[in-house]
Symmetry: C2
Subunit: 231 residues, 2 copies
DNA sequence: TAGGATTTGTGCGTATGTATT
DNA sequence: TAATACATACGCACAAATCCT
C-alpha cells in the first residue's frame, strides 16, 4: 500500500482547512468563550503563518457567525444567550426532523462502532470523580459529527452543523456556570446514544432521528428551567 | 429633517457589504454565469480598492458556496446542474414550509405595496415584446427578499437566502438555454404573487407560505420536464 | 522537457479607527 | 481636548502554483 503516495507537502488549502477546523473547535468547546478577544498576531505566530492567511480564516468564521471583527477594537467571539438562541433552537429541532426525511442512509460499520464507543466514553465520563464540561463537549461534538452523516443531503448537513455550533456553545456555557450537572447530563446523553442505536440496528432511521430530536428538545427545556431557577 | 446626519464617510464594513451584495447579485443574475472566471485585479480596479479588501469579499462568497478559488488558476463561479441541485431543492421546499411555521409576522404596509408592485412589473414583463431572463431574475430576487421577511427567525432567513441563490441560478440558466419560455414563466409568477397576496390580506400567513411552496415545487417540476425534453 | 506568462497566496509596512490617559 | 497605544484594514511587492507554448 501507499506505493504512489509520496509525502505531499501541505497545500495552502490544506493549511486553511486545518486552522479553520482548529479554531472552530476551540470556539465550540469554549476554549475561547463567548465575548473573548482573539489576537490576530498571537494566532498567526502560534500557527506559524503571517497575519494574511490567518485573517482569511477569521473572515470565514465571521461568515459562519462565530466571530466578529471591529476595526481598531479587536476580533471577538460572538455572544450566545438563551433569549437570542430561541429561534436557533426552534430551527434546529426542525432540521433534526429533516435529517431522517431527506436522503437518509444507513450508517456503515465504522460509524456504528464510533457511536457505540462514544456511548461507552460518556459512561466513563459520568462515572469519573470530577466530570469536565469540556470532555462532555468533545463527546457531544463527536456524536454529532457521526450522527448527522445519516443524511446524504449536503446543504442540510452544513446548516445543521452551523446551528449545532451555536447551541452547543450555550449548552457548555450553562454547564460551566454550574447551572446543570455534568455527570447527570453525561448519563442522560449516554442513555440517548443507546436509544438512538436501537432503531438504527434494525434500519429504522426515521425513529432514530425522532428520538434524537426529542433529546435536543428536552435538553433545551432542562436548560431553560436551570436558567429560570437562577433568575 | 436630516439635521444631525452629516455625510458619513463610508466605513470599511460598509464597503465590504456593498461589494459583497453587488457581486452576490451579479452571480445570482448570471452576469457571471456558472463556470465564469473572475479576475481579482480587474474587480479591484472596478471597485477602486486594492486586491486585499476585494479578496475578503471573495473569501466570504466562497464560504457561501458561490465561488471557488484555486491557486495559480483563478477564481470561478461554482457550477449548478439539475442533478446536483436536487437535494438543494428538496431542502428549500422544507424551509419554505418552515417560513410560515417559525416566527411568522404580518408584512407591513411598505412590504405589501412592494409585493403588489412586483406583481404589476411581472405583468409588464410578460407583455413586453422580448421578455429578458435577467429582468425575470431581478423580479424573482426582489419578491424573494420581500416575502422571506414574513419570518422573524433569523437563521431561517439566512439559510433560505443561500438556497435561493443556488436554485435561482439554475432557473435562470434554464431560461437562458431557451428550455423554458420567459413570458410564460413571468405570467405564472405574476399569478403566484396574486395568489400569495390573497391569504396575506386576511392575515393567513400559513396559507401564503404553502402556496409559495407549491409554486417552488411546480417550477422545479417544469424545469425537470424541460430538461428531459432535451435529453 | 523546459520556460515564460498569468493567477492566487503570502509577508510586511503603513493607514485608519478606537479607547484610554 | 489632545496625545498615545494598540487593534484591525489596506496596499504593494514577492512567492508559489498552474497552464500553455
Amino acid at each position: 500500500m501507499d506505493l504512489d503516495s509520496p509525502p505531499q507537502p501541505e497545500t495552502a488549502r490544506d493549511r486553511f482547512e486545518r486552522i479553520h477546523t482548529d479554531l472552530q473547535t476551540r470556539i465550540c468547546l469554549l476554549d475561547y468563550p463567548p465575548g473573548a478577544r482573539l489576537s490576530e498576531q498571537a494566532l498567526a505566530e502560534e500557527f506559524g503563518v503571517s497575519r494574511t492567511p490567518l485573517r482569511r480564516v477569521l473572515v470565514r468564521l465571521e461568515g459562519e457567525g462565530l466571530l466578529q471583527s471591529v476595526q481598531g477594537v479587536g476580533t471577538f467571539v460572538t455572544e450566545v444567550s438563551l433569549e437570542e438562541l430561541v429561534p436557533v433552537y426552534e430551527l434546529r429541532l426542525e432540521l433534526a426532523d429533516l435529517l431522517g426525511r431527506l436522503g437518509p442512509q444507513q450508517p456503515d460499520a465504522g460509524l456504528w462502532a464510533r457511536m457505540q464507543e462514544i456511548g461507552d466514553l460518556l459512561g466513563e465520563l459520568a462515572d469519573s470523580p470530577a466530570p469536565e464540561g469540556r470532555r462532555f463537549g468533545e463527546l457531544n461534538l463527536a456524536f454529532f459529527r457521526a450522527f448527522h452523516q445519516i443524511t446524504t443531503n449536503a446543504p442540510l448537513r452544513v446548516f445543521s452543523e452551523r446551528l449545532f455550533f451555536q447551541t452547543s456553545r450555550l449548552w457548555l456555557k450553562t454547564m460551566a456556570a454550574g447551572e446543570v450537572d455534568v455527570a447527570t447530563e453525561a448519563r442522560i446523553f449516554q442513555h440517548e446514544v443507546g436509544e438512538v442505536l436501537r432503531p438504527l440496528a434494525i434500519g429504522d432511521i426515521r425513529s432514530a432521528t425522532l428520538i434524537h430530536r426529542s433529546h435536543i428538545s428536552m435538553s433545551f427545556i432542562r436548560m431553560k428551567r436551570a436558567a429560570g431557577r437562577l433568575d
